[in-house]
């Protein structure tokens, strides 16, 4: 098993995926009839002029080629509508949007993992007892409640009724401002991780090697945490890829509700405003995050589970 070779191959696939996402996004956006410059007042001449200015009059495939060429140079074009003339890379990275969203997203990811796994282990340990049942209802509820419901309820309860936490999290200057967005964002993935950990712990517990460990005379605690948990973590690790995607999705809603000027909020606006280059840039950026996470997960998988012969995976 050649780790380096595998990593390189996986990276090539990741780049291919990103290219595919870029192509899909590009052609989908251009499938929208009408020009983004079409307003009620604009004349056909004005539209043609604007189209020519941004190269929108050329054939699609040429436009896509140009876009990729510029992308390689780090140029993602300029915003057409929302901040007309500002370069997309500046909007994404220069205005603190990306950093802000990353901060919240990473914190949520940490919270989800740090709380989710122990909760799942606890449930498996006490399976069938009251603590397991209570936690199971809570985690299932956490999965069932849509993010926007949780976010608005928290906002109402802690922000308005109790007044403990700030309602608007615009700049996220204080610690308190982080609490609600991060927790609401983390809730769903946290409950999913807990549930996954519980299931896979229970699965591990029924394995033959657990019987061996018991036959050795090990303490229940050792059997559970040393022998069962490490095996149970494998499916949890594979979930980290979808988890990242989930957190990004959640961010679209959560940022809107808490009025956080982050990437998610801006992305939704750009879609509603049909600001092509911004949509393109943001989609690619978010897709890149997910793809990178998947890459990391696949490699981490290999480290945790020595059995995986990675070159044969997927068959």
């Amino acid at each position: 098993m050649d780790m380096l070779g595998y990593t390189l191959k996986r990276m090539a696939i990741s780049v291919l995926t990103l290219l595919l996402v870029a192509a899909i996004t590009f052609f989908l956006m251009n499938a929208i009839p009408g020009s983004p410059f079409m307003t009620e007042k604009s004349t056909p001449q004005q539209i043609a002029l604007a189209n020519a200015k941004y190269g929108l009059d050329k054939p699609l495939i040429v436009q896509f080629g140009n876009y990729l060429k510029n992308l390689a140079k780090g140029d993602m074009g300029v915003s057409l509508k929302m901040q007309e003339g500002t370069s997309v890379s500046k909007i994404l990275f220069g205005q603190g949007k990306f950093v802000l969203s990353m901060k919240i997203g990473l914190l949520a990811l940490l919270v989800a993992v740090i709380i989710g796994i122990p909760v799942g282990v606890l449930q498996a340990y006490y399976r069938g007892r009251w603590i397991d049942n209570i936690l199971r209802v809570i985690t299932t509820m956490g999965i069932a409640m849509p993010g926007f419901v949780v976010a608005t309820l928290c906002l109402f309860e802690f922000g308005v009724t109790l007044g403990w936490l700030p309602v608007q999290s615009n700049s996220l200057e204080t610690f308190g401002a982080y609490v609600m967005p991060v927790l609401t964002l983390a809730l769903n993935p946290m409950c999913r991780i807990a549930k996954l950990t519980r299931t896979s712990m229970l699965d591990s517990i029924s394995q033959d090697y657990i019987r061996t460990a018991n036959a050795k005379g090990l303490k229940t605690r050792v059997v559970l945490f040393k022998h069962a948990l490490r095996n149970s973590l494998i499916p949890v690790i594979t979930y980290l890829g979808p988890l990242t995607a989930g957190i990004i999705t959640g961010a679209l809603v959560v940022e809107q509700i808490y009025h956080i000027p982050g990437l998610g909020n801006y992305f939704v606006s750009s879609i509603l405003n049909r600001d092509y280059p911004v949509i393109m840039g943001t989609t690619l950026l978010l897709a890149a995050l997910i793809v990178i996470m998947n890459l990391v997960v696949d490699i981490a998988y290999k480290i945790v589970d020595p059995r995986i012969n990675i070159t044969k995976k997927g068959d």
């Binding site: 989908l28 409640m145 849509p146 906002l155 109402f156 897709a287």
Partner: protein
């Protein structure tokens, strides 16, 4: 007796001293075959489905969830028959009411009905006003009587009262003449009626009661209970339809890929891998925007029956279906392929192949029936996730659009005024969470019941 006999010592264990005489000679005669057979009591064999059902029943959480979900189904599909409001009608003068609140007009109507009136028609509750074109072009039915009438002037912001005890039996009072203290009109105008309505006359639906706005109303005066029932119905239908789309595409793709194996399987699975690695929500958002215009154009043209049928669903819902058909079947396809690969190795499938059954027949007769447990579980879990996605899109303003409502769009409508009218968000949100929660719990219960690997 066969075998060499070399036993010299015969004695039973000390605690089992036997009195040999208690056994008669016939005890040691050969037993008949049917006697031997009767020793083996065949206990009732339990079929897979009976066993699954028993296991499902023994899980109180899942059973409870199933009951709650059935109640929600009754609420959203049968409930509308029992309330007087429709989801799209805007009741004037009844805007922004809280749960169980009545507007002044409704209060007035209630008082009228309590006092003397048999039935009323309040123009300010219903849409529009009464105006006349010809003599006798309105009629009302009250008991066995039919009253036909016409009014010269438009009756606006007034209430038509039918009271068989008074003379004339039909009159109207203007809202501005209502006296809150005496609970009566200062002045009423009688309406002349005949018993025969003219041809083409319109019937007025009288109200004999004022149905409470259990969940209140929105800012357009639409009844929230009716909208919640309707929204839940739309959400559930979307969820089920999307899950069925995923089921059909995923199961077909997965079973073909698994069954074909080899190069075909390899290529098909690489396609799945690629779709799997695409960040779905980003693409879904784009698709929602992109599909809107062409779909609308197609629907507006309305040339073929398909487009006409789909246009009743609306652009938002159809594009949700399309995105599901494009992106969400891959998970199902992977699971079914895995199952098929596992089954394919089993003897009964090989036997069918050896006997010359065609691949199509093997898939249909042997593979799919054995995957059915997985199919049910996955479909059941797909429904809440489809409802979830729909509500997410609708919340962002991309899914279902007014006057149609889904639970997501109801939440979205309520978000701006949330701080003033929290219940408008609360009711649909609770309903949405309940649906997703119960379906997830039922799905989990089904998985425990149907998956033989988890048999305890």
């Amino acid at each position: 007796m066969t075998g060499k006999k070399a036993f010299q010592v015969f004695h039973t264990d000390t605690d089992q001293i036997l009195d040999l005489n208690q056994y008669a000679g016939e005890d040691f005669s050969q037993a008949a075959e049917d006697e031997k057979a009767s020793m083996v009591q065949m206990h009732k064999s339990v079929s897979y489905w009976q066993d699954a059902w028993r296991r499902f029943r023994s899980n109180p959480v899942s059973v409870g969830a199933l009951i709650v979900f059935i109640l929600i189904l009754i609420f959203s599909f049968i409930g509308p028959m029992f309330i007087d409001y429709s989801y799209e009608e805007q009741y004037r003068s009844s805007q922004k009411l809280g749960p169980m609140e009545y507007s002044p007009t409704e209060q007035m109507v209630i008082t009228l009905l309590e006092n003397e009136a048999d039935a009323v028609y309040a123009t300010s509750l219903n849409a529009g006003s009464l105006s006349a074109i010809r003599k006798g072009d309105w009629f009302i039915r009250q008991g066995s009587q039919t009253y036909a009438f016409h009014v010269d002037k438009t009756i606006e912001k007034a209430t038509l009262v039918v009271d068989s005890d008074s003379d004339p039996a039909v009159y109207y009072g203007k809202d501005k003449d209502w006296d809150e203290e005496t609970k009566s009109y200062k002045e009423v105008t009688p309406i002349e009626t005949t018993s025969e309505p003219a041809e083409g006359a319109q019937e007025l639906k009288l109200s004999k009661r004022v149905f409470p706005h259990v969940f209140g109303t929105d800012s357009q005066g639409r009844d929230l209970l009716a909208r919640c029932m309707y929204g839940a119905r739309v959400s559930i239908i979307i969820g089920v339809a999307a899950a069925l789309i995923v089921l059909i595409i995923g199961a077909l793709y997965g079973s073909i890929s698994g069954f074909a194996g080899g190069k075909v399987d390899f290529v098909m699975m690489r396609i799945v891998d690629l779709i799997y690695s695409i960040p779905d929500v980003l693409i879904v958002l784009l698709l929602q925007v992109v599909l809107k215009a062409p779909l609308q154009a197609w629907f507006d043209a309305g040339k073929d029956p398909v487009s006409r049928a789909l246009s009743t669903l609306g652009v938002g819902i159809v594009s949700i279906f399309i995105t599901f058909a494009l992106l969400y079947w891959v998970g199902m396809a992977r699971i079914i392929r895995g199952q098929v690969l596992q089954l394919k190795e089993q003897e009964f499938v090989m036997a069918a192949g050896v006997l010359g059954a065609s691949p199509g027949r093997i898939i249909k007769r042997h593979l799919l029936p054995n995957c059915v447990g997985q199919l049910i579980i996955q479909t059941c879990l797909q429904i809440p996730s489809a409802i979830f996605l729909e509500s997410f899109l609708s919340y962002l303003g991309l899914g279902v659009s007014a006057p149609m409502a889904s639970l997501g769009s109801l939440c979205s409508d309520a978000k701006e005024t949330f701080l003033l009218f929290p219940y408008r968000l609360l009711f649909p949100a609770i309903l949405l969470s309940l649906i997703v929660l119960t379906l997830n719990l039922v799905g989990d219960g089904l998985r425990d019941a149907l998956d033989p690997r988890l048999k305890s």
